[in-house]
Subunit: 321 residues, 3 copies
């Protein structure tokens, strides 16, 4: 894993983005290969060297033709092999692609992580056989989004991370959990905040246990940065970095480029907020910044025009500040 | 009623669209005659030969200058005669226009359908006198959206359908009810699903009763296709077609081009989902596909940019697949 | 305060707009100085002569570099001095700028208005020292949004209004309260209506008390026009004007250009609705129409494309009707 942090001054630059083509909650843009080719150009121009396929499938919708998933979960044949497309575009732009595992939805419905592990045992093998030789395939992303209260998270992450590393000659693995902060509410909820946010002390104790348990099977942790308030960033980020260092994990930030403070869930974030979050990560000594995600919320061709301006504001910041 | 189904292979092509100018829940685009003229060109290029005015009025907002509705319901004088506009544009493009009846809102507020029947007795007469001679005026749409539990639905549909047919020398009449499936939640609800979805067996029994009761007064039924899950389409569509055949109704699909699975209610659907739904209708032997609706969710000039890409994806599918 | 009402016929034209750069609930457009310069040109072309900065700060986000707010409330240094920018643009276009006071958020959290008064005592002084000499700085806006049930509203408005007037040689002050009507629901609520709307009689009695109490400290009142139904406009507006006249207040309308009737909160309003509201204000003899707000909901460069068409519809109305 390259360290691609902007070292100059207070700025932390975004060098990676999720690709959210099988989405939980962000409406689809209906792009074809032409639009994706253009978007990778925009990403490159913004300094992005890493793309992460957020999940290779969710319930019955999948990104690549998978005999296993079609047979076992009744998944629909995708109109296009998106994994091949994204690998090809990443290779054209000399980017790294992280591959996100399958999310069956069973965990969301039942709280049981075992079936996610079982399914991904087969998916990892199938995918590695199909795409493991590709130049841009340089890592894995454990797509299960957990937080402190997720039962069985340590076993799941340790198990899936180990499988990924073992089949791929130790390619790096990362996770992107959420902080159980005041804005940690469901997208479908009409609330913006909740009362029972985690305390700093609980956060530290619980994640220390998780980090200890996943050591060796996971290389980097990219906490989502949107569930806490802006003035809480410094404290939480300090703890995250301290824990990551202790357990030899790289500490990335998942700088959310959508706005959690608004009734429309979700539109692009105000640039000032993104800047606050990135600079807090820099100050805490984080290793890399990725974002969820470029194509809806920061791209000059996004369906959300606010994103076009966010791209310009971000590039001004990156280049001239 | 022409049958305009694409007969080639697995594809079912959309040949009709609602026009949602007096909307319950879709924000207005503020188009004038110029934008509408352009949109009919886009529709024509996409293979649409049928437009359906979803309702000629809703509560106090109406589409045409109506002495009756203004006097009786205090409706506002419309800035433009939209019925004349849409008829003119339909005539220019050799399209069929179905006229949607008035929705007073009283049924939504009180559960009482009698006033919808009473009001439309006058509306049908007024409208037929005003626009019945127009070349494109070729059918009626009973705008009351019902489902299985709607009390008095049979009497209302039979009554209004008979009035329409009798005044217009038997012009065709259609309805577009919803399946009471897991996604049948109110637009204003923050939920995406509900627990008490109808079973296949209940659906069949209840709609058999309704179809039997409306026979002769209704010519086609276009179930909305968005309230059930994608893997349920085959079963429900098979029943719908079987029942429609039994009661000599044409069986259309109302292929919703907006996405019911997302927290923003509503933006354009992912093309892959629309394709799954259309092909399920084709497989079940449906007679025609219409959509709710082209101008917001599929038009190259929609305020939702996702729609521009959906148009391109759909045209690629239509022309080249 | 100029009276800039269109006197011709039934039309009431919009001559002022809020600028909502520190927003509660409208996602940010990420505009820089270039986009703002363009937007003021569009405003001017639409007949706008007055801009109102809705609030100079909200919680920790502020519009201008404020030693006081940074020290006292831990506010973030703004990337840009927006007050200077808006004053400069207003001066270029010969417009009047009203300055909106600070909203600490404490009142929203606790119901206590005292801290809003205390904070603004310092803000008013700081701002007047910094910007009071600017040519376009011609008035104050008390940004606390109240309604009839707000405890302590009279004291707060009287106190803050008096401070503004006293430091600035009696520059005009206005407020923009909301009518506690059926659509007065929180933006984050999934409801569109509520049951316990205020009656006309209660509205009159309660606002008579408030107007009596703020007399002398406030010059104009611009009720928000979106919380009541369209057919209620005439009655409420008549009362508002009668009360305003009685207590020597100018009576403005805050014509909301977003749509409160739709599940997406909020997108641009249907022009027909805006027209109904403006003409009701004209009929009631209102003095001026402002809108919340031009840049998101009526601008030809808004991120909401519906706004581009609303601009065209409005200009057609303004120029040719």
């Amino acid at each position: 894993m390259d360290r691609t942090i902007a070292e100059n001054g207070i700025k932390m630059l975004i060098t990676g983005t999720f690709i959210d083509e099988i989405s939980h909650d962000i409406p689809h843009q209906n792009w074809g290969p032409t639009e994706w080719a253009q978007d990778f150009k925009y990403m490159k121009a913004a300094g992005i060297d890493t793309v992460i396929v957020i999940r290779c499938g969710y319930r019955k919708f999948i990104t690549y033709p998978s005999p296993y998933l079609t047979k076992t979960f009744g998944c629909y044949e995708p109109p296009l092999d998106l994994i091949d497309l994204f690998l090809t575009l990443a290779e054209q732009h000399d980017m790294t692609l992280y591959f996100g595992l399958y999310d069956s939805g069973i965990y969301w419905d039942t709280g049981n992580l075992q079936q996610e592990i079982d399914a991904n045992t087969f998916v990892i093998e199938e995918v590695w056989k199909k795409y493991g030789h590709r130049k841009a395939f340089k890592g894995w992303y454990l797509s299960t989004e957990i937080s402190r209260k997720t039962k069985g998270a340590i076993e799941a992450f340790h198990g899936m991370g180990s499988m990924c590393k073992s089949i791929s000659n130790d390619l790096p693995v990362f996770i992107s959990p959420w902080i159980d902060g005041k804005k940690a509410v469901l997208a479908a909820s009409n609330n913006l905040n909740k009362q029972d946010a985690v305390s700093l002390k609980e956060h530290e104790a619980e994640w220390e246990e998780i980090f200890a348990g996943i050591q060796g099977a996971v290389d980097a942790v990219a906490f989502q940065d949107g569930q806490i308030d802006y003035h809480e960033l410094a404290d939480f980020f300090t703890i995250n970095k301290k824990l990551a260092d202790k357990y030899a994990l790289q500490c990335w930030t998942n700088a959310e480029s959508f706005d959690r403070d608004m009734p429309i869930k979700f539109l692009p974030i105000k640039f000032e907020k993104l800047k606050l979050k990135l600079e807090a990560a820099k100050k805490a000594g984080y290793d890399k910044a990725i974002t969820f995600e470029f194509s809806h919320f920061m791209s000059p061709q996004s369906a959300y025009i606010q994103a076009h301006h966010l791209y310009n504001r971000y590039l001004e910041y990156k280049n001239n500040y």
